[in-house]
Amino acid sequence: MIRTVKLTKIFGTEEVETTALNAINFEVKKGEFVAVMGPSGCSKSTLMNIIGLLDSPNSGEFFFDGIDVARFKESQRTELRKGNIGFIFQSFNLIDELNVYENVELPLLALKTPGAERKRIIEEMLEQLKISHRKKHFPKQLSGGQQQRVAIARALITKPKLILADEPTGNLDSANGEQVMQILEKLNSEGTTIVIVTHSAEHAARAHRIVNLFDGHIITEQYGKKFTTAKLFTEPTLYPEN
């Protein structure tokens, strides 16, 4: 699903250059549940933004579903992102001026889904995430847990192949956090590929694999509780020798 080769991202002003990602080789297979961990400022979010096609790398290769997208222009990235990737953010990122229903509707509008079908899909999704009774409410009228469920509904509404969740439980209490994790696990079990950034070792452990990032490098990889060797080793070696 995702494969990067020597992926590098440098942020720079005229005076100072910061290497956020330093020649990273990283892979996520279809159906995998990967957790990315690391201290603040270790460029976890930068990695997420690039694999989410929100940002582009300075150098290196980046294959999304077999296509090299490293050199894609913004419009091409947008086109590929549309419907294929769902984002869940720590700060929910709901539009305050839109109500629950309208927020969830956004990705379908981008896809130009016809009205009647749109309505059906949204109703279904709201039902599934148990927020249909709140559909006329605005984000500010909801609890954090409810807001995150709306954000998840929005991420899932197009049935994306890949869900990127950047600290989805970071702003939630443990009960609500647990709920979110359960939703993600369920999705994964239904076949959706998931990459999650988290500070919680407990949450990370529920992934197939944990990637530890430090200062722009991947320092360790370990396997989570869901790890199954059979799945991983049926494919050839992932990374070329350094």
């Binding site: 929100l54 947008t78 990122n93 839109l98 509008l109 981008a110 896809l111």
Partner: protein, 790 residues
């Protein structure tokens, strides 16, 4: 998609009410102003369009090819041209000859229903019946087909009919003209709209002109330039062909004079190929456009600044797959929506402020915004275009945000020192406001200069009346009796006075090359004309009772200059076939508004034994107007018992002058527009500084922590804006100077730097006040609070 577009747009408008209020006020005022000015322009362009044959109607005019003359065009032509030359031309369908009943009398002549109740009525014409085939009349009473076919018939406008015969039908009634001529009403027509160049109040048959005026051979006379001619061309006829054929029609009489046709569409705006009116209208239109640009710039700046509040929305939309094009469409769409709504509100505001605006421009011509649907259509198109143009840049900025930064709600700081569109727009905005302010000052000073300047005579403390009488005899006795009263200082009698412009003739002079000729204004005055008006004698002497001045004349300074006479006294002038000796040179005075150049002028003595029809001017002692009025009234009632002499304050003539009125309207409108431009700029600045201050809160907080004074905070916040104003001086001052140089009119007030300095100071002060409000508010912040928020 549309539903969400509208809900989002409306909720965003309601989200920040102060911002939306500023934003909409700005656009609404901009559009309302644009609409009001568009109404004026539309009104100016709509003149005479009420005529069904608008495109085929022409007026006969003369081009007088005399380079030394100021007056080179006239529509006073000879009757013989119509009767002999035009009738032969195949292109012409109808010709109507007219003669102004009141002639040189600007006040009009008296009509009465019963010999007693006299009504002074202007714009009466002797006319051919064919005028009804050319201009569009709507008859309310009588038969238009034969209304002017019988001698001594009269056709009245509705207004005149109502004046003379209130509450009864006018048709068949008798109307008495001055000198007691009797007419029978054969028709009543609806009043002409205000935007009509020829507005007859009543018409008399041309057949009556000869007998009444005792001018029997007028139809064969090629010398009397006293008639107006309107022509209807056949469909598809080319007026240039007509011009070609009549170009030399006067070669046997005055070979320098060439008749031509001027289309009806030009009669109001530019009858004589002069730019004056066009300059006025251009400046006003440009100003309106500038104000719309100001509003658009405000919109662009405010929208761009406000984009920071939409960062999250942009980030989210981009992350779920909205393309840049979709976002661009959304934000341009929002600005078109705002602009369109503002346009509608602007139309409403314009309609509400129409009475006030009419008062400002001193007219009552603008009746309703909803009179012209095509204009409204154009305005709505303009609102959409404004919306697109002013929405494009902010939309582009917004849609181009990097989604990652947008989601982090990080505002991309624009380059602090380099060129940025926003800075350029602010400079343009200040330049426009400053420019408009300078122009309004220039026009203000010019108008005041013209209306208060020394015109070469004293028009205060004068009474005047135009008297039509059969009486022949001495005015001297009347004058002697008047002067016995201490309230009366002087009195004179003449056929023209300043502001009632005499005609003239093309004259040659001693020492002129054979071809040199110039148009000279000619008037007749009594001995005391010069002293009554307090005009100055430059050389020689005034007409005097001690000399036999029957064959003497006076000329003005301009005439001596054009004739190039070093010693004019004793020189001879041939006027209407008679020789006159120059006895004196009158110091130049303005015979009409100083907007018009002074032309050569020749004065002959009004012999004391002639008919006493003419203008009587009385100078009264200062402060004695009421008393003097009574004395004059009593004297004229006694001396002219048969006639009407209605004296008026001379200022009436000054105020009625078209050029003076035009300038006053121009002055009022430019001041009005300049004030609006300052208001709009301030609104924009207010909004902009509001955002700027929000962004600078952290800096202000830090500075406060380090103990900076309010003064230095103020300096940090304002120095940028002040430098923009100073930069705009570089654009606005030369533009202002350009306008001054191109002001229409013969006289210009001496330019001073004060207009420019004052305008700059005002712009600066208004800007500083606007900024100060925000700066003071921002400096009230609690630094601890701000820094904690970071």
């Amino acid at each position: 998609m549309f539903k969400q577009f509208f809900t989002l747009a409306i909720r965003n408008i309601l989200k920040d009410k102060l911002f939306s209020f500023i934003n909409f006020t700005n656009l609404v005022i901009g559009f309302a102003t644009f609409i009001l000015v568009a109404l004026i322009i539309n009104e100016e362009l709509s003149w005479d369009k009420g005529n069904e044959n608008y495109d085929r109607i022409y007026r006969l005019q003369l081009f007088m090819d005399e380079p030394a003359s100021t007056t080179q065009h006239t529509w006073s032509v000879t009757a013989a041209l119509s009767r002999h030359d035009l009738v032969k031309l195949p292109e012409i369908e109808k010709i109507a000859l007219l003669h102004d009943v009141s002639d040189n009398n600007m006040e009009g002549v008296f009509l009465s229903p019963d010999k007693k109740n006299q009504f002074l009525i202007r714009y009466g014409y002797f006319s051919d019946q064919s005028i009804f085939d050319i201009l569009t009349f709507k008859f309310l009473e009588g038969d238009m087909q034969k209304a002017l076919t019988q001698p001594n018939s009269v056709v009245l406008s509705k207004t005149v009919a109502n004046k003379l015969f209130p509450s009864e039908k006018a048709i068949g009634k008798v109307v008495y003209g001055e000198n007691k001529v009797q007419f029978t009403v054969t028709g009543v027509y609806a009043d002409f709209a205000a935007n009509t160049s020829l507005t007859p109040q009543y018409l008399l048959p041309m057949a009556s002109f000869g007998p009444i005026s005792n001018f029997k051979d007028y139809e064969t006379n090629y010398w009397a330039y006293a008639f107006y001619t309107y022509v209807l061309l056949k469909p598809n006829a080319n007026p240039a062909n007509v011009d070609k054929q009549i170009f030399s029609a006067l070669k046997d009489y005055r070979k320098e004079h060439h008749p031509y046709l001027r289309p009806l569409s030009m009669l109001h705006l530019n009858p004589y190929f002069q730019k004056d009116y066009h300059i006025f209208l251009s400046i006003i239109s440009a100003t309106a456009l500038f104000i719309l640009i100001l509003s658009s710039i405000n919109y662009i700046n405010l929208q761009t600044a406000n984009a920071t509040t939409r960062l999250r929305e942009i980030g989210i939309k981009k992350s779920v797959g909205f393309s840049k094009k979709m976002l661009l469409r959304q934000f341009v769409g929002e600005s078109v929506l705002s602009s369109f709504v503002s346009g509608l509100l602007g139309i409403y505001l314009a309609q509400l402020s129409l009475p006030l605006f009419n008062k400002i421009i001193g007219s009552n011509m603008l009746t309703s915004v909803f009179d012209s649907w095509s204009l409204l259509g154009i305005i709505l198109v303009v609102t959409v275009i404004t919306g697109i143009l002013s929405g494009l840049y902010p939309a582009y900025v917004i849609a181009s945000y990097n989604p990652v930064k947008a989601l982090k709600q990080k505002f991309v700081q624009d380059d602090a020192n380099g060129f940025s569109l926003k800075k350029a727009l602010i400079v343009i905005q200040f330049s426009i406001s400053l420019f408009l302010l300078i122009v309004s000052f220039i026009v203000y000073k010019q108008t005041n200069f013209m209306t208060t300047m020394n015109l070469g005579y004293n028009h205060n403390n004068l009474l005047y009346a135009n008297v039509t009488t059969y009486k022949v005899g001495s005015f001297e006795q009347v004058r002697d009796r008047l002067l016995q009263h201490p309230e009366i200082e002087d009195a004179c009698y003449s056929n023209y006075v300043p502001y009632i412009l005499p005609g003239g003739d093309v004259l040659s002079w001693e020492g002129a090359k054979s071809d040199d000729k110039v148009f000279v204004r000619i008037s007749k005055v009594s001995y005391d004309y010069q002293t009554t008006f307090k005009m100055q004698i430059e050389q020689g002497r005034n007409f005097s009772r001690e000399y036999a001045d029957k064959n003497s004349c006076m000329i003005n300074e301009t005439a001596t200059r054009i004739f190039n006479w070093k010693d004019p006294i004793g020189k001879s002038m041939k006027v209407f076939g008679k020789d006159y000796t120059v006895i004196g040179v009158m110091k130049d005075y303005y015979p009409q508004s100083p907007h018009n150049a002074i032309e050569p002028h020749l004065f002959r003595l009004m012999a004391d034994s002639v008919g006493l029809t003419g203008l009587y001017t009385i100078r009264f002692a200062p402060g004695k107007e009421q008393k003097a009025m009574q004395i004059v009234k009593d004297e004229f009632e006694r001396s002219y018992p048969e006639d009407v002499a209605r004296f008026k304050d001379y200022e009436h003539l000054v105020n009625m002058d078209n050029a003076n009125k035009g300038w006053e309207m121009f002055r009022n409108i430019t001041i009005f527009l300049a004030i609006l431009s300052i208001i709009i700029s301030s609104i924009g600045l207010f909004g902009l500084v509001m955002f700027y201050a929000k962004r600078k809160l952290k800096e202000i907080g830090l500075r406060k922590v380090f103990g900076f004074s309010l003064g230095s905070l103020y300096y940090t916040m304002t120095s940028g804006f002040i430098s923009y104003i100073l930069l705009s001086v570089l654009l606005a001052w030369p533009a202002g100077l350009y306008v001054y140089r191109n002001l229409p009119g013969a006289t210009k007030y001496p330019l001073q730097i004060w207009e420019f300095l004052l305008a700059t100071a005002i712009t600066l002060i208004v800007a500083l006040l606007t900024i100060s409000f925000q700066v003071l508010k921002a400096s009230q912040v609690d630094p601890a609070q701000i820094l904690k928020d970071e």
